[in-house]
Amino acid sequence: MRYGLILTSLFACVLSSGCSNNLLVSGSFPSPLIDSDPHTLGVFYDDTFRHYTYTEASEERSKWTIEQGDAQRQLFNTVLGKLFSSSVELSQWPLTEGSELAPSVDLVLQPKVSEFQYSTPRETKFKIYEVWIKYNLSAFDREGQLVADWLVTAYGKTPTAFMKSDEDAMNAAIIVALRDLGANLSLGTLRVPELKVWLENNPAHTQIAANRAQ
């Protein structure tokens, strides 16, 4: 009787794990080949962003759990560190009473994931994994006033043929999507109209200090 119960439990475990996929996204991103803006940027990643995990809620799909917080933070740090002359991670934003922003920070950026979607070959009949991610970016001045608020999209796909497992294929598709996000951030951020005007009208602290020294 006891053996029967153990066997049934094992069988149930195998069945339930057969339809679930757990993925911790990992990869590396090249530094973009772009000119830097002279401003210093403070970046705030809240806990939801740092530990962003997509969990599939639909009963009709495989039970994917995708942790991509570290990978997307790595991408933002790589790109923003090159897009601006300097970029620092902030531990909190908005500032609470008694806390101070580093004097060199000119502008603060806060990214948020607003949407994550994917499709697998089983669903589309194409032999590719696809991922779409939508980010909401908000830029603030030192006083916490909103300067600009805009959306950035990312898309990535990968054929299954070169991959060893569903997880590897999904990981590759997400890395391609994050590279696409990096391209979008590198070439599009300084063209956001409100941000462009603000950057033109507010010289960087480093520039002001250099002018004073002269």
Binding site: P30, P32, L33, F162
Partner: protein, 234 residues
């Protein structure tokens, strides 16, 4: 007794021969090549290199990275042409050659080259030709079935399966110095693979993508080294 010894001695050899024969079994593939050359005087100076890049902007397929490296390996044979690995070049030029940003036509190249950092990266790699490869290999048809079973007396398969694959690739050769499209090579390959199974499945594979790669690679080599020797020095 003598016969038994003979069999025993030669068994490893027989097994090796059979295994080699199975590996070497491959089905036929047919390849059609078309080429268009806008300039006859293609040349590659000493120290100059080429880079082969796969197109990845289409929504339902992407050019396979292993095809790109396969073509590169053919160009590199006998150290004849310096080929920069695709991933290394795309990373060095990030984000200018991503699917979203890569120039689709040669006349779009000045758009990215007006960035001094991009121009410097091209100069650093001494790139003379950019070769864009667009296309895919896909299974177009399949039929048959193979059943396998396992029992107390052993395991075995029985049946017959067949599938057809088609490759369709176009390679465009851009001259980085002149900023012109110097020519195009298109390759269509198709082949049918078979898998008869009598106890053991025996795959007879048509290497369609490999044939397309070889055809495009050799034709590109011929483009860049018409005399089939070392690249002419200007």
């Amino acid at each position: 007794m003598l016969i038994h010894n003979y069999r025993f001695k030669h068994r490893p050899l027989i097994i090796t021969v059979l295994a080699t024969a199975l590996v070497l079994l491959s089905a036929c593939t047919s390849v059609n090549i078309d080429e268009y050359k806008s300039q006859q005087d293609l040349s590659l100076s000493q120290g100059e290199s080429v880079v082969i890049l796969g197109r990845r902007h289409s929504s339902n397929y992407e050019t396979e990275p292993d095809l790109i490296s396969c073509i590169g390996d053919i160009l590199k044979q006998e150290n004849s042409i310096a080929v920069i690995p695709e991933a290394e070049f795309v990373d060095d030029l990030y984000p200018w050659l991503e699917p979203r940003t890569a120039p689709l036509k040669v006349k779009d190249m000045p758009r990215i080259l007006k960035q001094p950092l991009v121009q410097q990266a091209f100069d650093r790699h001494r790139v003379r030709y950019l070769i864009w490869v667009d296309g895919k290999t896909e299974t177009t048809d399949s039929s048959g079935s193979i059943g396998c079973s396992i029992g107390a007396g052993g395991a075995g398969c029985f049946g017959f399966g067949t599938w057809e694959k088609e490759s369709d690739y176009v390679a465009k050769l851009w001259d980085f110095q002149r900023l012109e499209n110097m020519g195009e090579i298109s390759a269509d390959a198709s082949g049918t693979s078979y898998m008869p199974a009598i106890i053991v499945p025996i795959p007879i594979i048509a290497r369609v993508q490999k044939s397309a790669c070889k055809a495009v690679g050799l034709q590109l080599r011929n483009f860049l080294m018409p005399d089939n020797g070392s690249p002419p020095v200007i």
